[in-house]
Symmetry: C2
Subunit: 191 residues, 2 copies
């Protein structure tokens, strides 16, 4: 097969959930739509240079993200999320006016991810000037392990809450609709 | 949202079958896997510079593709395919030793694609030095319209065949297994 087509298919197959067939289909589409393809390539190259916010670990173009810079946001409430997918989801729904902390992972001994890999020292530092920490984490073994670690780490010095019950057990937070999320926020309860 | 993430999501959504959710997931994966992401971007930029073979319209890095340059291939048999997906599929199965002609489309009055858009003059020219033309096209309105146009164009001067019956009506050629394809090739019949 043509070397550069083979290379493209090979690298696209690394994307999560993309097999040989889809990679071939996307590769041919890209070759047939070269303007869009060049735009995608350019946007990838720009996006990989995004940094993590020095305060909250949200993605940003500069050192500190727009949310942390926004003086209208309530800095005394920190919502801890696993990925920025959850942050983006919450932001698009406009139901939360505090700030965030993005963990970029959960403690998972099975996958070799431990507390030291999660930058929790920074969260501890941020928590010192806050009044409430909301743990917006998946209801899974890893989510609960991480929540418990954070609770122990903050050691009773701050109010720690979680989304209200009403979220089905084992449900992925990123699949919830606006109403469920809003209710879960309003009824949040202390750990 | 972060501008460069938004741009990346926006351009990835143009890929066929990719919606907002998948585009976000792929974008975040790319940002978190910057080495793979840079490789994908580089491979896209190389692949969009692929040319079409001057003889058969297969994709290639130079003017003429490896299949047309290969002296062991039977140049007197031309297999006409709609897309190079079919060509790649047939090549990976090693069941055909002739050459190809890639149409890059089918006649479709509904979509405004007419014979003049398919580079059929070049096929006519190639057919002059060939003994057999195999029409390996989908069994659809567009596939049959295109087949009939080619038959009329070549005007009885050459043997024109199609894959043997056994391919289910309306079935997409690219979904067939090796055995079905091989049988269809062996039992090909004249139009
Ligand atoms: Zn921030
Ligand atoms: Zn060729």
């Amino acid at each position: 097969m043509i070397k550069s087509l083979e290379n493209l298919i090979g690298s696209m197959k690394k994307l999560p959930g993309i097999g040989e067939k889809s990679a071939l289909r996307y590769a041919l589409w890209l070759i047939n739509n070269s303007q869009d393809a060049k735009e995608i390539a350019k946007n990838i190259e720009t996006a990989v240079n995004l940094k993590k916010c020095k305060i909250c670990r949200n993605l940003c173009e500069d050192d500190v993200c727009d949310i942390c810079l926004d003086s209208s946001r309530d800095k005394s409430t920190i919502c801890v999320v696993e990925t920025i997918e959850t942050l983006i989801n919450l932001e698009s729904q406009h139901i939360y006016n505090g700030v965030y902390f993005v963990l970029w992972g959960l403690i998972s001994p099975l996958e070799g991810i431990y507390a030291k890999d999660l930058d929790l020292d920074k969260l501890k530092e941020n928590a010192q000037s806050a009044k409430e920490i909301i743990l917006m984490l998946d209801d899974s073994i890893e989510g609960n392990l991480t929540a418990q670690y954070i609770i122990d780490m903050l050691d009773g010095n701050i109010k720690i809450t979680k989304p209200a019950s009403g979220i089905p057990v084992g449900y992925n937070i990123n699949s919830l609709d606006r109403l469920t999320l809003q209710k879960a926020f309003q009824n949040r309860i202390p750990y």
